[in-house]
């Protein structure tokens, strides 16, 4: 048996690792598989949770206000259903009967707490001097005369009409409220399952923030899963084209598959043992498998490609494998440690799932490191390789390209470095143009169902964005009610805000009705006793519970609901600030007024995600720099290690700024992807530079390094072009992720092989001197 220990490594740990793989391959493989199976068995506890609300930190101010509203008034996250036919009046007996049937069917829904439609609403009429509260639609079948009367009532009460009918009288609108605002995906699924069969024959549109929130995560996941199948196919083809070895490619995918399995299993186990929601797989975790795939791929590609190059020279498997692992164990370990440390900074994020993200991806990366360091060489050692095959005897396409690239870069290192620096500077200016936006309508391409529905709701109905204002004060006090009406009018001054509704509107309507339906009295009464009498009169004919969604039981808190067309994040910011300003200057200081609603919360969420991403990048750079400095024993190396990563971050976000790609809670994921892949290339380059600087002449050093690590780096980057498949997603931010990931791969790999190699070449006398 060849003494690997003495031949290939001076380092005892490296020797031991190589020894395990080469001299006890079956034991190594079996142990690796058993541990993978054990950890991966946690897959049965793995839980996907599409509830976006679980992503939000519990102490977010807008969330606290929002939850207070949910507690008091029930869930405000409603889904709208609009049905009708273009060009036909909806005020006909068939449509009225369908509305009745739909309402009855929806009332049986387990997730559904309340419905608001013509079929459930009441009307207040003044008949011969008394206030009659009656059902707006008293029964299923109405004659055309009754329908005309209904329409007349709605035309007279436009605030009520806007809630139930489109402006052109062609569509009915039903507002459906769930029991609670968690599990919106289940709510959405149940509602659609009930409504679709009843509304056959009509044009149907679903809308509302809850619909989008409930639909999006599963939609994204399904879309990404489908496209990634194509992506993986591309990956396989690129690897096959260059490695020219099916077993070689299979071994790379073995590392990917087993580490993914272990990561998912680990997440399941931790969730099972801790019960913590931090270890649920949410929308925020979508990029985890993508990142682990790139990292595991990188490890596997480095080992297999290096092995083939060594085998080409040494003509003996064990020798080739020994020297491969001797040169790669440290860089693979280092890239894993730096990436784990970088992702560990996510545990500092206020967003709950990012804590679990940081921990779980760390486990996945660690396992990929273990597999590629021990199991992969063991598997390689067992295979009988054909030393005469093309994979071993001939250079691949990329190897030939690298050769040429190295020549160009290292002949003109100053120019190359300067060019890189200029590109980075341009990118820096671009960063200032980056716009943060969670305009959900822009997430979907025109022509997609959700986008069309949102556009429909904006054009024909009252819009789908809801803004809620909680007002705490005496709801029977005329001053309070008048203040609320004034605030509502102020809110409606914005052209995108279509309507608003509150208990103040109801009081005005009751007042008018009691005063013989005289429009002059559609005002807030001038004293509290009158307001109270109105409620008492109402209770004699109607049910005060009718107001439970707009005023609390004790009449101490009221809710203003405004609907608007889709607004961008900037518009929401500006609008809420303006309204808060109005509240401070105009409304009674004894009143407590809070603005909230899903759109306000999403705005706050995006700010948080963007801030988390920025902090994560900065911390990651610091951590990576420190670790690299320690391992490479020089601060200069630590600084050089973060150059490609920093450049990639600047160029990618600058690119977004120049091309108007908005930064949202989806595209902010990109920062994690860059961290995941960006550091690997630099660490491999530096590790190889240091190793070869001890044995190769300084004049040939950089060329040798580029030739050595350039090929696996380019191959790794090229195989990850599979992410380009995401460009075909129906979901715009996923398209961006696909495109930007490809761009990140290109920029980090090229950045390493040009800017870093040029810089290392320029500084080599300083770098080599210290290493001798």
């Amino acid at each position: 048996m060849t003494k690997i220990k003495s031949k290939f490594s001076q380092n005892p740990i490296r020797s031991w690792c190589i020894h395990q793989s080469l001299d006890y391959p079956w034991r190594t493989i079996i142990i690796s598989l058993l541990v993978t199976l054990l950890v991966g068995s946690g897959v049965k506890f793995f839980l996907i949770d599409d509830d976006m609300m679980k992503i939000l930190p519990k102490n977010l101010e807008s969330r606290i206000s929002w939850e207070a509203i949910q507690d008091e008034f029930g869930s405000t996250e409603v889904i709208f259903i609009a049905f009708g036919n273009e060009g036909e009046s909806i005020f006909n007996p068939e449509a009225i009967a369908t509305l009745w049937d739909l309402t009855e069917a929806l009332e049986t829904g387990k997730q559904i707490e309340e419905l608001n439609s013509i079929a459930t609403a009441t009307r207040m009429d003044n008949l011969d001097g008394f206030m009659e509260v009656d059902d707006l639609q008293p029964e299923r079948n109405l004659s055309q005369e009754e329908i005309n009367d209904l329409k007349e009532y709605l035309d007279k009460n436009t605030v009520v009409k806007k809630r139930f009918v489109s402006e052109d009288d062609q569509y009915f609108l039903i507002t459906v409220q769930p029991y609670n605002s968690e599990g919106l995906n289940l709510f959405r699924d149940e509602l659609v399952a009930i409504a679709d069969p009843i509304l056959a024959g009509y044009e149907v549109h679903y809308g509302g923030q809850a619909y989008v929130t409930g639909t999006m995560p599963a939609m994204i996941r399904d879309d990404v899963q489908d496209l990634m199948k194509v992506g993986i196919l591309i990956m396989v083809m690129v690897l096959l084209l260059n490695l020219r070895s099916v077993p070689g490619v299979a071994m790379v995918f073995m590392v990917i598959g087993l580490s993914l399995f272990a990561m998912i299993g680990a997440m399941g186990w931790i969730y099972q043992l801790t019960g913590s929601d931090r270890f649920l797989f949410t929308l925020a975790n979508t990029s985890m498998p993508i990142i682990l795939l790139t990292i595991a791929n990188s490890d596997g590609v480095h080992v297999v490609s290096k092995f083939f190059r060594e085998l080409r020279v040494k003509h003996e498997v064990r020798l080739a494998l020994g020297s491969t692992m001797d040169s790669l164990l440290v860089p693979i370990f280092l890239t894993s440690v730096t990436t784990i440390a970088a992702f560990a900074t996510m545990t500092l994020s206020p967003l709950e799932p990012l804590f679990g993200y940081g921990i779980t991806i760390g486990i996945g990366i660690a396992w990929a490191w273990f597999l590629s360091s021990l199991m992969l060489p063991a598997v390689i050692s067992l295979k009988k390789w054909n030393l005469k095959s093309k994979a071993i005897t001939e250079l691949s396409i990329f190897e030939k390209v690298i050769n040429k690239l190295g020549k160009i870069v290292l002949t003109h290192p100053k120019y190359v470095f300067s060019a890189g620096a200029i590109i980075v500077l341009i990118g820096l200016f671009g960063i200032s143009k980056v716009v943060v936006d969670v305009n959900m309508s822009k997430f979907f391409k025109p022509g997609t169902e959700i986008r069309d529905t949102m556009d429909f709701m904006d054009e024909k109905m009252a819009g789908t964005v809801d803004i809620r204002v909680r007002v705490m004060g005496d709801m029977k006090n005329p001053q309070t009610l008048s203040s609320m009406r004034t605030l509502q009018k102020k809110m409606e001054e914005n052209e995108k805000v279509t309507t608003s509704f509150s208990i103040a509107n109801v009081v005005e309507q009751m007042h008018r009705t009691v005063m013989d339906d005289n429009p002059k009295y559609e005002t807030i009464p001038d004293n509290r006793e009158k307001v109270n009498n109105l409620f008492t009169v109402y209770s004699m004919s109607g049910d005060l519970d009718d107001f439970s969604s707009i005023v609390d039981y004790d009449y101490k808190t009221g809710l203003i609901t405004a609907f608007s067309k889709v607004m961008s994040t900037d518009e929401i910011f500006a609008y809420v600030e303006k309204m808060n300003g109005h509240v401070k200057t105009t409304m009674d200081r004894n009143l407590i007024v809070d603005f909230t609603g899903m759109i306000v919360i999403l705005r706050d969420l995006v700010i948080m995600i963007v801030r988390s991403s920025a902090i994560s990048i900065i911390f990651s750079l610091i951590v990576i720099g420190i670790i690299a400095s320690i391992f490479f024993k020089r601060i200069l190396w630590g600084m050089l290690a973060v150059i490609p990563l920093t450049s990639a971050v600047i160029i990618n976000f600058g690119f977004m700024g120049y091309f108007g790609i908005e930064l949202s809670h989806i595209t902010a994921i990109l920062s994690s992807i860059i961290i995941g892949v960006g550091v690997d290339f630099a660490v491999h380059y530096i590790a190889q530079f240091r190793r070869l600087s001890r044995i190769i002449d300084a004049n040939k050093l950089s060329r040798e390094v580029v030739d050595d690590v350039g090929y696996p780096i380019i191959l790794d980057a090229a195989s990850n072009m599979g992410f380009g498949a995401l460009l075909f997603s129906a979901f715009v931010p996923i398209q961006y992720i696909g495109g930007l990931t490809v761009f990140a791969m290109v920029s980090t790999s090229i950045g390493t092989l040009t800017v870093l190699s040029a810089l290392a070449e320029l500084l080599k006398q300083r770098l080599i001197e210290r290493n001798v």
Binding site: L127, D128, G129, F130, M131, E132, V133, D134, K476, V514, M515, P525, N527, R528, E529, K530, N532, N533, T536, V537, S539, M540, S541, G542, D543, L544, D545, Y553, D554
Partner: protein, 237 residues
Amino acid sequence: MVFAQTGLEIAKMVDERPTPKDMFSKTKMILTNSKGQSRTNVMISKSMDGNKKQIIWFLEPKDDKGVSFLKIEHSDQDDEMRMWLPAFKKIRRISSKRRGDSFMSSDLSYEDLSSRDLTKNEYSRIDDEMIDGKDCYVLKVIPKKEAKSSYSKHLSWIEKSSLMAVKEESYDKRGELKKNKAYTYKKLKEYFVMERIFVEDIQKNHTTEVTFLDLQVDTGIDYNLFHEKNLKRIPKM
């Protein structure tokens, strides 16, 4: 051979049992919603003709003090209901079309508060039962179309010795249980009078408890009291 009484016969017995000529009470009504939040109303009530004429003055909550309500039932025309709104200084008629509407947002509807017309309902007897140690007839009551009821049926437990209802289940138009009612009564002079009513709306998860305090019967209430002019002033107790 002894023939068991039919449902209609029992209903007639209940209808014909002796009732006070008039009644006065201070009534407390507690409404409790599904979240456990409560509202309490206190009112003075005077009635005669088996509650066919009734006038109520609200005392509590303070916001409602001064509001009053007059009801006069007719067999051949719509019931009259009027309300005095002190803040507006107006008397307003209340619609009597929707008998299923709740009274003051309670679980008692106008229909629940009105007497049942024997000719507008079908009565059938089902097996007798014991309720809280009381031997009861059990009647199934199905309102006819002309009753314009908001219920599809009732099951009523009538205590045999007093002919007072002790329990009733009321079912909505879909045939689903809507309300559970429990009654407590006491003997006052030669009459059995209701002392407490507890109603639970199963579907809304809401309860109403009505307690009749300071009950007085046959006090000689003047027939002319039941006129809207008397709504404007709370009588002396």
